[in-house]
Subunit: 383 residues, 4 copies
């Protein structure tokens, strides 16, 4: 069963890349985007480094230099390619990366036919969840690479964005009373260390919108001067707007007085009844301020989640990404997984159409810096 | 009584600057530091703009161009001198700024002899608290300006740093049980909008150190390689250490193998039994990690404050600076006071020797970006 | 004959790229390097824009958007991809670029079977010389891309660097008397506008070294502290050394106390009797100063060229790249070819192993900014 | 007589600063501008370091730390304050700098009553010329400091700019035949090392305008879109225009549709018949290109100077600042005077109203980077 799960996850990464040209695997237009071949290599390196080398006797490393190339933030394991350099590396080639995947997969198949210690299974499960996180990033990064090419090439006709539904009605409000709520992962399966430990949080009464904000609603904000009025913005948000001359969500282009947006099917007119997406935390917060509302905290969101319709777009929260009470880093390189990012980032809740099914849980804590927009995200109002 | 209070506060700003040379009032060595003459002018501009112009009939504005020069972040009120430019302005001269103060003070004396509406009193009280905040910044900035001059001039022999006590014993722990605690300002006097509204917070059991970390303890961290081991650091903290080649707290200089530090009395040997100060959040968190501990949240700190010996150095907390439940910005320019900074900053609790007596309350929320070090701050461990 | 010439030049560009992987065509590790596929597309765009569109009736443009992608500095012709963005473009693909070349080549073959006006021939000849210049850049850029990959892949076994000879003897001096010398292109064939018009220059007596500086000689400079002593350097050169921590020529790596250098065959030990190469003007000038010598002016070099052994490495001169007396820009886009670069660059004389045979003439004026090193260059001393 | 000359030069530096407020002495709004107190200290440090310490027995150094503060580019003499930091130094105070001047002047008076060796006289004369150069920079820097203050304070009513004459007529042309001309300083007095050695230069026939370009003429260029048409610009000039959004000369402000300019008497309307000034080399060259002309070379200018009306504004030339044939740096710190700047700068000829009378000679070579504009400069056309 683990073998099946392993194969399914590993195969999906390659399927996501199927429509790509070799050249699309290589580039890194901004620091936050990684070249697709790097994702394919890095997730493979994880299994080689943390599973095969320690647990498969006689495992033959594919290429010792790959440790340098495909290591990411695991500083415990030696020098790594600095992030801004990833897009300058033409080698290893895409074909070599696929060979690397094949080499590691074959060894993993061998390993997975043996009886495995709990410790091995645990790290293997982490590796699969890790690869699923990189699958989501693959979607973001592929869209960015194609959507910032002056030729605006389509990814394909069939893709995840087709799953995003239409909002038919004006959002209403769900009310939640004050009281103690239980927060954090409380089940038996896998979760990331940042979702632990479950603990009580006291919440004041609050209300969350039943639906995400639509493109039509966001256009109203734009057209009434939302991007020109500093009163709605955090100081840093306003500086970001001015410095980067932000006037619309990412991927929006005003062509002959018609707002169009790059989608995985190419440039399309804005669909007014779909949820607005690809906005920064600053924009989400400014929009909420303009509406006289606010964003939810991650605790409110989690407490309310059973009542919400979620899972299409990550929802920016007001919460900073901080350790839960009693959080502690695992020892060694694995300990670098989450804790080291717990400053200056914002929590997003709720999953997107790019998120693996298994990650669609209410306790999942996604996090990004407040100025980033290339992930699938949207706005839910709170008050 | 208001008049007396006004005079006392206004006078203190000028007393702090008494030992300065004219030239010391002018420079801005880094973006976070403002020239002392700017503080003197800006706090005066506050009274002129928000009190005299609206409430004193026939008030004669001192100089309309000063609105441009001494406005800070109040974007509602028109173009302002961008922060990095403050140190390039030789005019208005220091003497003109003192004349400006005199002009406004005389008008304020006139106003304060009248019966004032509650609204007027409210904004006046805010102006006094605002000036007291700038008095604290004056201390920080004067120390930075003199302490980064290659001649290391002393400020004076008598000064606030003399009030910092010696730690005689190893810190012990105070234990606090889990439960609901009331957080926020609950009294009748003045407080800032960010301390409201009072609300309940549920805390897990926690312990706080009885004393701050000493220079001796911090030296141990330095000497066992704390600045060279990324495992103790946040990713952004580690990048900050590497990029800026940080090896010790701000103001520390290793001269002939002896650690010295710039104090307001000039360069002195490190006093091992005094609390370590002038460190960034990143350093505070790394030190705590090295000790196997953590920093307190602002809620833990406030709940525990009655048991703590505090008020000498601001204490970095793990908490991000975020709105309390129900927080809302005041309308107009005054509304820009606090809310717009509520992203990417860390809360500090507890006051310092540079803090006005009236600001030494447990609900006060100070905040700085995590890399800043020039304010009076220290480390209290939690677990 | 023109057709033959056209085919030969066009074919060579593709032959240079033959050993490349698709991925190697795409990346742009620094702003000065262009992706190989861009060179292939840009030189093709030149023929399409300046020859086919104006002179071949019914010519069908391959793709109008390519004008945007493959335009370089010809601002007359509309928006262009800013240089730093070239390495972010995965599309058009390498295969599409080769199709573009094929499409243009077929149309050019058609055109070249007709009787052509002088004007058409002139621009066509310019296009061929232009492509030859990009062939030289292809060599530089391919070396940079492979030589800055952590895997240090070899380009091939057979390549232009094999033509660089060994210096067997200590350099001697050629003496030239003062007097009037004729400078500039004085023959009948093609030359670039910057080589015109021929004119007289009065030179003081001077001497040039018979040979280029060897790696052994340059190592002496390094080992006696040449990179640590500001007295040998221009102020800007010294700032460049300090800021970039320059300690050796480009591509040199000190591995286990042995200097190695990346060559097109991979990493190799330094060959002490080969000429030093890949140094900046700053380094060339500092080396000369250390030897108590100087670099030649471009006029001295040209006057002396018949006596020199040259053609393997471009030789930095002391001369700034400036217009010759009577220089005037051609009208229209072609006029942007050379004149607009005539500030803040240094002239190099003499050609390299990467230079087309037809460009190996004494009047040729190559030019680069003084800090650049990735072209094939070396040092000849003057006094 | 030397004593008298010394007194006269030294006094002038202080007279230039007489109208300044203490605060004006301190600031450094851009890296190219130095605080006036730095000029006063640096020129004093020159005499202390190169004259008093070596040649006056028992000379008592004023303050050993001043060597660090007032050293400029003389890297031979140890660590120096990096240029961007000069404006952050409030100490030494202005009053201390004047004491420093007094201390050094008294010692110099003592020295100057003795019989001096030729070597001592030579360095003393260099020191006086050096201070005169800094007097010219004082004018530039004072104008920049006051002219970039939002209050636009006047320097005084009487000042050097009053000496700039009105151009009454359209410029005509002076013709000069081709031939050998003698260039460089050929007299007996003092000159800088960069004016040597005198040597012959062969010039093609050329013509220079009799007058500088007027504000009216330059306005024509502006109003016909000169700043919007890249064809007139060097590539680097165009990048500079776009990046900095340059639309007019430095100090020009369009206020209510009237061009005004900051002068040492404050903001004034543009005087159409005065020469345009405070433009960069890029602007000068673009203007010339728009007129179908060019700038002179420094050799043409020097050869023609007897026929020209010059001395009010430095005139940008096309020439790069390079060593004359046979130029060699003096040994030791003095050798850093000029040679180290001989890359990436442009020569200006002819002196300005801010130039010391003794520096108004045809062989004087002034030099600035091509983007700089804060010195007194103008445009003379050539063809």
């Amino acid at each position: 069963m683990l073998l099946h799960q392993y194969k399914t996850v590993r195969q999906l990464s390659e399927e996501i890349c199927l429509p790509l040209e070799t050249e699309d695997y290589v580039v890194q237009p901004i620091i936050d985007v990684s070249p697709p071949k790097w994702h394919l290599g890095h997730s493979t390196w994880f299994f080689e480094t943390f599973v095969l080398k320690p647990y498969l006797p006689n495992y033959q490393e594919f290429n010792p230099q790959y440790n340098f190339v495909f290591n990411s933030y695991y500083e415990t394991l030696g020098a790594r390619v600095i992030r801004t350099d990833r897009g300058n590396l033409s080698r290893p080639t895409v074909s070599q990366v696929y060979q690397y995947r094949k080499h590691v997969d074959e060894a993993m198949h061998e390993l997975l036919q043996q009886n495995l210690a709990d410790e091995t299974i645990e790290i293997l499960i982490l590796g699969l969840n890790h690869e699923q996180q990189h699958q989501e990033l693959l979607w973001y990064d592929i869209k960015y690479i194609l959507g910032h090419n002056p030729l605006f090439p389509a990814y394909a006709d069939e893709h995840i964005e087709n799953r995003i539904f239409t909002i038919v009605q004006q959002a209403d409000w769900h009310y939640f009373p004050e009281g103690l709520y239980k927060i954090g992962y409380q089940e038996d399966g896998f979760c990331f260390d940042n979702e632990l430990a479950p603990h009580q949080v006291y919440l004041q009464p609050f209300s969350l919108a039943t639906d995400l904000v639509s493109n039509q609603e966001y256009l109203n904000f734009m057209e009434t001067g939302g991007y020109q009025d500093f009163r709605f913005w955090h100081q840093e948000g306003w500086d970001w707007v001015c410095k980067n001359q932000i006037k619309a969500p990412l991927y929006w282009h005003n062509i002959n007085n018609q707002w169009q947006t790059y989608t995985l099917s190419g440039l399309k007119n804005i669909h007014l009844h779909r949820p607005v997406m690809h906005i920064s935390y600053y924009e989400a917060a400014a929009y909420a301020a303009w509406r006289g509302c606010r964003l939810a905290t991650e605790f409110e969101w989690e407490a309310a989640s059973a009542k919400l319709n979620w899972g299409q777009l990550w929802e920016w929260t007001e919460s900073a990404y901080l350790p839960y009470p009693g959080f502690s880093k695992a020892p060694g390189a694995i300990g670098e997984y989450n804790g080291k990012f717990m400053v200056n980032q914002k929590v997003l809740k709720g999953a997107s159409v790019a998120t693996a099914a298994g990650h669609q849980r209410k306790s999942y804590r996604n996090f990004f810096h407040p100025h980033l927009r290339w992930h699938y995200n949207g706005i839910r109002l709170a008050k």
